[in-house]
């Protein structure tokens, strides 16, 4: 079996790979998966599932940049009078709190506050002992979503208001869904921009850190990465769904950091899961 030849990986890496559904190209992924159209969104939900995934790409810890594994996934969304909170709901950040400030039949605008995952720390790998810990950022901004039949366009702009990175990120996503009998397919392509401050906080290595860790000095630069995914969702019953996703994207502008043990220009991954929807 494919997985048996791969090394055992950290739980965090496995969970990220198998169950975040490759969140780099997310945000509108859930809307696409549920085949929503014309600015319809699913109501509140809670999902618990079991999945498997495999990934090849750049890695902070592993020399070969490959990972595979099984794990449990959880995602939820709660909406109340325009306010919403999404937890691991196929969004770029693990948790997003937002408010739907405007919408009509075509356009919708949300004010969103999301937290990024934490960056590297001494606990991540022995190579990082002596490195200043990178903490999560609180990204406040807006996202504008346009619904054009089966196509969805979303642009977003967020700034770190917690002040740790003082960075800004932006994204432009274009997705489409289509249905073949009860199989719901979706395709998604996106461009993600992270400014130099954001990348420098998470991926930069100062001269002081370099002197302690031996890692090469690196100044974060503005990066633009390409991300894409192709997925299918099938309703097994009223409460059970099956999902499969193949993802592909680039790591240009980020992989050059000396924090990466394995540098790859592109990543690719596949994930499968069966989830119970409450």
């Amino acid at each position: 079996m494919l997985y048996s030849s791969l090394k055992k990986r950290s739980l965090i890496a496995i969970l990220t790979i198998a169950f975040s559904s490759f969140a780099f190209s997310a945000d509108i992924a859930r809307t696409l998966r549920t085949n929503s159209q014309d600015n319809n969104d699913p109501d509140n939900f809670l999902e618990v599932g079991l999945g498997a995934g495999a990934f090849i790409g750049s890695s902070l810890k592993d020399a070969d940049g490959k990972a595979a594994g099984l794990g449990v996934n959880l995602s939820a969304s709660y909406n109340w009078k325009g306010f919403f909170i999404d937890v691991f709901a196929e969004t770029g950040e693990p948790i997003i709190i937002g408010y739907n400030a405007y919408n009509n039949d075509v356009w919708s605008f949300d004010v969103v506050l999301g937290t990024t995952g934490e960056g590297v720390s001494e606990d991540t790998d022995n190579r990082f002992i002596g490195l200043n810990e990178r903490e999560s950022s609180s990204m406040l901004g807006g996202r504008l979503t346009g619904y054009f039949g089966e196509n969805i366009l979303q642009v977003s702009l967020k700034h770190d208001v917690k002040g740790r990175s003082k960075g800004t990120v932006a994204s432009a996503l274009l997705g489409r869904n289509w249905q073949y009998r009860n199989w719901n397919f979706h395709g998604l392509v996106g461009l993600y921009l992270s400014d130099a401050k954001f990348n420098d906080y998470y991926l930069g290595v100062t001269a002081e850190e370099s002197a302690i860790t031996g890692l090469e000095v690196y100044d974060g630069k503005t990066s633009v990465t390409f991300n894409s995914s192709l997925g299918v969702t099938y309703p097994i019953s009223e409460n059970w769904i099956y999902r499969a996703t193949v993802s592909f994207g680039s790591d240009f502008g980020k992989k050059d950091s000396s924090l990466f043990e394995k540098k790859r220009s592109f990543y690719t991954g596949i994930s499968n899961s069966i989830s119970y929807v409450f």
């Binding site: 085949n35 929503s36 319809n40 969104d41 109501d43 939900f45 405007y102 309703p235």
Partner: protein
């Protein structure tokens, strides 16, 4: 070690039990299917179609079985549109395979040809995983 007959019987018996159980289950399913076909009435299998999202078209290959006490000319009718799906001539029972495609549950009836009285009825229920609600159309909102 050689087992005596008593122990052999004891050890082998789970195998016999499994065989008997599987046979009974198979016989039960065959009887049940036959029973469905010969009961007076109209039956559909499967009777439920599950879509991913509310409002989405649901697809399901279904099979209708019907049986009546007397031979006659019968038709299978979809009741919301009154479309005639299939008719049979001078027969007492019938089977019809159909590709169900609808976003809503549908009722079906067996009728005497050219008559409106429903001799037997059944339905296909459409359900979904994710409820979908239309966001209200509005302008800019203040907190």
């Amino acid at each position: 070690m050689i087992l005596n007959t008593k122990y052999k019987t004891f050890i082998v018996s789970p195998l016999y039990f499994t065989l008997i159980f599987v046979t009974l289950m198979w016989a039960s399913s065959v009887y049940s299917a036959a029973d469905n076909q010969h009961n007076i009435g109209l039956h559909i299998t499967p009777q439920r179609c599950v879509a991913l999202r509310q409002g989405q078209t649901c697809y399901q290959e279904v099979t209708f079985h019907w049986h009546q006490s007397q031979k006659g000319n019968y038709c299978l009718v979809e009741l919301s549109t009154m479309d005639v799906l299939q008719c049979w001539q001078q027969t007492q029972s019938g089977k019809f395979e159909w590709d169900f495609q609808s976003s809503e549950s549908q009722d079906f009836a067996l009728r005497n040809q050219d008559k409106t009285e429903n001799l037997a009825m059944t339905n296909i229920t459409v359900s979904w995983v994710f409820k979908s609600s239309k966001r209200p159309k509005s302008s800019w909102k203040l907190f």
